[in-house]
């Protein structure tokens, strides 16, 4: 499976010009620089519907976003595919992306949200707060560990060995 395509899609989203809201793109930038062979990395201001087509080309989709009041330093939760009906907003939720990927493209991908706790969102300005930077570092470490575990799982399956 790994030889044929990239397995994991990471989408870091948020607005880097709004302080800690840039946590998602910041994580994407750091992961991209590591050039992990299993991972496709995207960064954007917000999620949009075409992300569903790309999600459907992967087995696992991880949405990295800033969290205003989530757990510190970050949380990692599954996404349940679910449509949301917007009024005129063009931003869509991870659950909506997964629902579109499933219904329009027959995707069986699993989705997760990596919510990195941020603290300052109310100002225009680039640069993360120190606390957000610390949380970002831990989230990057977690993500790398997650990829390593997935790689070992796949290798074990391919070689018939059970990973203990």
């Amino acid at each position: 499976m790994f030889a044929d395509r990239k397995k994991i899609l990471l989408i870091g989203f948020g607005n880097p010009a709004r302080a800690d809201d840039g946590l998602g793109p910041a994580l994407a930038e750091k992961i991209e620089s590591k050039n992990l062979s299993l991972v496709t990395v995207e960064a954007d201001y917000q999620l949009t519907i075409e992300d569903s087509a790309q999600a459907a080309e992967h087995d696992i989709v991880i949405f990295a976003d800033a969290s205003a009041d989530g757990a510190e330093p970050f949380s990692f939760e599954p996404v349940v595919a679910k449509y949301s009906d917007g009024f005129s907003t063009h931003s869509v939720e991870p659950a909506h992306i997964m629902a579109l990927a499933e219904s329009l493209f027959g995707s069986k991908a699993k989705g997760f949200i990596l919510g990195i706790r941020g603290y300052e969102f109310d100002r225009f300005g680039e640069g993360l707060t120190d606390k957000a930077k610390a949380n970002l570092k831990k989230a990057v470490d977690f993500f790398e560990g997650y990829i390593q575990r997935k790689t070992m799982d796949e290798t074990s399956i391919a070689t018939g060995k059970r990973n203990t």
């Binding site: 607005n15 949009t48 087509a53 976003d65 949380s75 063009h90 949200i113 919510g115 109310d122």
Partner: protein, 477 residues
């Protein structure tokens, strides 16, 4: 780290806004006033002050996550003036145009398929449980896929010309920093036939719906208005560059071929106590009658012709509906938008066959100036960027009039009309009223993120007040 606690992802600073509608009733429960409020935060103009001018085309993309290219290019056009680049090289102008038409294509496709098609395919009085993207995905799965793929095609063009989707750097003061390779071009040409076919089909859906439901749509949130857009020197529709033209509801020109560098002589903005969003108007007419519409409806109304054959044929059909006079039907925005969608993909096709896209002469410079104004036609309408720069190359003044702000008064009028037509003696926010207000505002495809630079997610909130100003009811969608 906790994995047991449910994470609440609050996109509090996503580039969005929210819409709030307040409706005031008289003693007989008739509508006396309806207003569309937008919470505005005009911090962006201040944020960029002090920054070097060459950073601005990249920085302003953070105004809006849905049409960053419009801000990127409008700022680049203003900065062209700063560096004295009065005429770009053919390669630079055509690459920018390709980027812009890609943006127009993806934005219109997104709006049509994801937000508007449920209204058109099921009728806007249909049960909201069906009239949504889920309903479209179930009943018209091919259309839903087409919407996603058209949006993706436009985004890929942006990526190829701007460098990347986020923080694109393609347009720089005086030109561009990359051309389009043969490989990139051929990848787009492979799909262009399919995109043209889907655009034609989308146009037919919008046209057929409008014609079939004309009696119902004519009065829906509709009113006579002025219209404003850029047009080319020969009167053709042009999204990227042109001069300002304004017409009244009958088609009479208020002004024409105005160099947009002089926009302040023709356009002013009114501040109203109840809204943070300004109300632009044509100076010669004053704020009461000088407000105007922008965007697809205005552009199709103001131009003399469209310079691509299929879109021009469609424009003629559109104008025939109103005997050649401007179309003032609010719901006709959707049809006009699809004419533009077809025009955009025709232009993309034309550009992709132009060898100038592979040229290597990318940048020009001239005599440095301290002021730059850049206008273009963004998906939602005319976008104004105006900057002053000091001798140290720092921005000292920025004024942006974004498309949705230009449509502020028309959106308010549409809400007032719909509310007055649908509240009939019963002081209650019905599901029907909520839906109709939503449909009316959606016709304008407002991008409240740009208009507001706001914090917060974007629900539609409608509040009903009695004649004493006491709140009767609030509903949120």
């Amino acid at each position: 780290m906790s994995t047991s606690k449910r994470v609440v992802i609050e996109p509090v600073t996503r580039v969005e806004g929210h819409g709030k509608v307040s409706i005031l009733l008289d003693e007989n429960n008739k509508v006396t006033q309806a207003r569309f409020h937008v919470v505005e935060f005009r911090g962006f103009e201040r944020f960029i002050q002090g920054r070097p001018y060459w950073e601005i085309p990249v920085l302003v993309q953070r105004l809006c996550g849905i049409c960053p290219v419009s801000h990127h290019l409008a700022a680049a056009k203003a900065m062209d003036r700063i560096v004295g680049a009065d005429k770009l090289t053919p390669t630079a102008e055509k690459i920018r145009r390709l980027m812009h038409y890609g943006q127009m294509f993806q934005s219109h496709a997104l709006h049509f398929f994801h937000l508007c098609s449920p209204d058109l395919l099921f009728g806007f009085d249909a049960d909201p449980k069906i009239r949504n993207i889920i309903g479209v995905a179930v009943k018209f799965p091919d259309l839903a896929v087409q919407g996603v793929m058209m949006r993706k095609f436009g985004q890929e063009i942006i990526k190829a010309t701007a460098g990347k989707k986020i923080h694109g750097t393609g347009a720089i003061p005086g030109g561009i920093n990359k051309n389009l390779s043969i490989t990139e071009r051929d990848a787009f040409l492979k799909d262009i036939g399919q995109m043209l076919e889907w655009a034609r089909a989308a146009l037919n859906i919008a046209k057929d719906y409008t014609v079939k439901n004309l009696d119902k749509l004519k009065p829906f949130g509709s009113f006579d208005s002025n219209h404003l857009s850029l047009v080319r020197k020969d009167g053709a529709m042009d999204f990227y560059h042109g001069n300002l033209r304004a017409i009244d509801a009958t088609g009479k020109k208020i002004f024409d071929q105005v160099d947009y560098s002089n926009y302040l002589d023709y356009i002013a903005e009114e501040v109203k106590s109840w809204s943070y969003m300004k109300f632009p108007f044509i100076k010669s007419l004053g704020p009461k009658t000088g407000w105007y519409r922008v965007g697809p409806l205005a552009r199709v109304n103001t131009c003399d012709f469209i310079d691509t054959p299929e879109a021009e044929k469609a424009r003629k059909e559109f104008m025939a509906l109103t005997g050649g006079r401007p179309n003032n039907i609010t719901m006709a925005y959707h049809w006009a938008r699809m004419i533009e969608l077809l025009h955009a993909i025709e232009k993309i096709n034309e550009l992709l066959h132009d060898p100038d896209l592979q040229g290597t002469d990318l940048i020009v410079k001239g005599k440095r100036r301290n002021e730059g104004i850049g206008l273009l036609e963004a998906p939602r309408g005319t976008l104004f960027h105006h900057y002053r720069v000091n001798d140290d190359d720092q921005i000292v003044m920025a004024n942006l009039i974004v498309s949705t702000t230009n449509n502020n008064e028309p959106m308010n009028r549409a809400v007032q009309k719909v509310a007055a037509d649908h509240i009939d003696g019963a002081p209650k926010i019905t599901e029907g009223l909520l839906n109709h207000i939503e449909v009316a505002i959606r016709a304008y495809d407002p991008c409240l993120s740009c208009a507001t630079h706001a914090l917060g997610k974007m629900p539609l909130m409608v509040t009903l007040y009695d004649h004493n100003g006491s709140e009767i009811e609030t509903k949120t969608k």
